[in-house]
Symmetry: C2
Subunit: 231 residues, 2 copies
């Protein structure tokens, strides 16, 4: 805590007085009471951004899927499992936020035919899993009138620039941070690019904490200086 | 470490000189480079048994799926992801083992059509996941001529006694430990029953570490005193 306070003391207070909501980690979608579909997101990038935003003077709320990580110092955290739960937690906190940073790797689909009992391995063959679409949390928040300024993340395994730009347009946001998933999932170092109306800006490879501070600076530069009145 | 050594000093050396292989935790089955199917097993029960077996004087090898747990003091650990990797790790270590305790929640099925690239949310609808059966690690080890004495685990959400007895017969093992999954997954306390030829023996609810010591004692009582010669 002393180290956290000291480190924060020397960071520029670029988000002083701002309220920031960040999602992080994977979501888990139940198949039955014991089996789940999830993803390899460690949550480290989102947690590092939450720390960096707090260091920069922001009032930070973190909505996290299941991870092995501790709550970052100074940050208020809510832990959820499914994409629907993450959606509900975000929407319950979204009023009065200045900035929403969507880092969580949210499942696009949930299991439509969740079993209330553990599926048995009997003679009936492989399980039949049916899917239903999950709510799009980032697009929902981005569409809120006079809502927070929104930053998205895209983890792709190829064609990053193309997919990131498509995602930025589809979600209706002005800034998206992209990375190649095989280089970042569960790793402590990361290489990311910022995509905005001016194109792609690649940041040098560094620790997730150093990259997070650079991203908070880049976000602070782009954040409208006079935000619209909040409800 | 000092505490671990001191605690162990006061435990009866019921497995002195025995070689014990234990599996623990969930397995993860890839859907694509970022998405996986897994289960809610925390690994705590298997890790507690590994500790208790080491305290009882055994030479313990732990093959673990992905967990947030540290390697138990005194235990040699290998970490794997998929059921096939766990099978291969177990088979590479199984020679010369006296006892095999299968605690891991191993996926019955893997994804047959794993995608090499991250599946995109486009207009083509929900993902189509096809399944292929995984190897049955416990049944394979139980069928090894002059192989180790085998103990299985069953986590069920209902009909525990019936399912546990069926599983014990199907796997060809003489002792199976059963618990109700909703009472044990990711919890620090647990209630278990031992199933053997004499029926069901329910142990009192206790911490996973205390239950693990009782189970090691129960296993030591049943372990053949003069094991067959090993290859």
């Amino acid at each position: 805590q002393l180290v956290a306070e000291l480190t924060a003391f020397f960071q520029p207070k670029r988000l002083k007085g701002k309220r920031v909501l960040i999602t992080a980690g994977p979501t888990t979608e139940a198949i039955d009471p014991v089996r789940v579909i999830t993803n390899r997101s460690s949550g480290k990038t989102g947690y590092a951004l939450a720390s960096a935003a707090w260091e920069a003077g922001a009032d930070v709320t973190l909505i996290s899927g299941p991870t092995a990580l501790e709550t970052p110092y100074g940050v208020v955290r809510t832990v959820v499992e499914s994409a629907q739960q993450m959606h509900d937690a975000v929407m319950s906190q979204i009023a009065h936020q200045d900035l929403f940073i969507s880092v969580a790797a949210v499942a696009d689909w949930r299991v439509a035919n969740v079993s209330g009992e553990k599926l048995k391995k009997d003679g009936s063959g492989a399980p039949k899993i049916e899917f239903a679409p999950n709510p799009d949390i980032l697009a929902t928040v981005a569409a809120i009138p006079n809502g927070p300024w929104c930053v998205g993340f895209a983890a792709e395994t190829e064609n990053l620039a193309q997919y990131a730009e498509e995602k930025r347009k589809r979600k209706g946001i002005s800034m998206l941070i992209g990375n190649l998933a095989q280089h970042v999932m569960d790793a402590d170092h990361t290489t990311v690019s910022i995509f905005d109306d001016a194109g792609e800006h690649r940041l040098p490879k560094s620790s997730k904490q150093a990259v997070a501070r650079q991203l908070i600076e880049a976000i602070a530069q782009r954040l409208p200086q006079v935000p619209p009145c909040k409800a």
